[in-house]
């Protein structure tokens, strides 16, 4: 019984630690990429946007282990659309997609953070 108790307490501590780490990681990643995407949009820099997109794609497998896949897929699609609009010089659509992407970065970044909205 003592071993089970210790394992239970350790499991809870591990779950809490992983929760805090994942929240911190997602928040940092999303705010960093969000800034990069905003900067790319301001400069109309397709290469910079492409780099942000690639960085995002690299993190997708890890993020998918704790964030609903729908959230991740929506942001991936938005970034792809924004990139295509920029290539075709459709700047008003590009700006709209960038606004959408930055909002989605915010949503994913705060997904695991403790908040009244998330708790209830």
């Amino acid at each position: 019984m003592k071993i089970r108790l210790v394992i239970s307490v350790l499991s809870l501590i591990l779950a809490v630690s992983l929760g805090i780490l994942s929240a911190e990681y997602t928040d940092n990643l999303c705010s960093g990429l969000s800034r990069q995407v905003r900067a790319a949009a301001d400069k109309r820099d397709a290469v910079m946007l492409q780099q942000a997109q690639e960085q995002w794609q690299k993190r997708v497998p890890l993020l998918s282990t704790f964030i609903p896949h729908g959230h991740i897929d929506r942001l991936t699609e938005t970034l792809v659309r924004a990139s295509e609009f920029l290539k075709n010089d459709e700047l008003s659509e590009f700006d709209a997609e960038i606004g959408c992407a930055i909002h989605q970065f915010g949503v994913i970044g705060k997904y695991d953070c403790l908040s009244v909205r998330a708790l209830f």
């Binding site: 089970r4 394992i7 239970s8 809870l12 779950a15 609903p68």
Partner: protein
């Protein structure tokens, strides 16, 4: 197709391990809190099983949390009887000296039919013979029949009865359960001699062979050879 299959298998093994870890009893013997946990675990696990858009962790973390909470609470309730009473409640007396406590029955929301059924399941057909009947915290009725109405035991009658010990199965459906007779001296010789004496040549021909400490043997030969 493969993804739900693999996810379901992962969750299946995880749930089986979790239930083993909790040391669960059978459904009918569970305390209310244990029953709630078991139902919750199955409900929680089914969501990521069906929805592959959800990370598997969303099913695993709630299960870890529930199992850990259950183990911690049951450990604490072992140490603190008050907590145990709060979580599991306490046994309630329904019948005392053949008299039904109607208030207790109302508080437990048990009908007289339920009570009579529970008594019959305990081989009690006349409730006047019941000295004490209590509804246990796991929802089962325990009954103490007045000693006047109990059949006499060998001890009551002052006679000695032969000792009995449980039978251990040695051969089950043609297969040797080696561990159950490991302590027997010259076990292989004894086994061969016993099955030969009963008309079988090999272990394969035996459906059941069991023995007790007094070396009584129960033997059944396979019907289809």
């Amino acid at each position: 197709m493969l993804i739900p299959l693999i996810r379901t298998l992962i969750l299946y093994f995880f749930i089986v391990f979790s239930m083993r870890f909790m040391g669960k009893r059978q459904v009918g013997e569970m305390q209310p809190a244990e029953l709630v946990i078991t139902i919750l675990i199955s409900a929680v696990a089914s969501v990521p099983m069906q929805d592959i858009e959800l990370p598997l962790v969303h099913g695993i973390i709630p299960i870890i949390t529930l199992v850990s909470a259950e183990v911690i609470m049951s450990s604490l309730s072992l140490k603190y009887p008050r907590l145990r009473t709060m979580i599991s409640g306490r046994p309630i007396t329904i019948i005392r000296n053949g008299n039904i406590d109607q208030k207790a029955m109302q508080s437990l929301r048990i009908t007289i039919d339920d009570l009579m059924e529970d008594l019959r399941l305990k081989d009690v057909y006349d409730l006047r013979t019941v000295k004490l009947a209590q509804m246990e915290t796991n929802g089962r009725l325990s009954v103490l029949v007045d000693s006047k109405h109990l059949p006499p035991t060998a001890a009551d009658m002052g006679i000695s009865a032969a000792d009995s010990s449980p039978f251990r199965v040695i051969i089950s459906d043609g297969k040797l359960v080696d561990k159950s007779y490991a302590d027997k001296p010259n076990k292989h010789k004894w086994l061969q001699k016993t099955i030969n004496a009963k008309g079988a040549k090999t272990v394969n021909e035996v459906f059941l062979l069991a023995y007790d400490e007094q070396s009584s043997v129960i033997f059944a030969k396979k019907e289809n050879g």
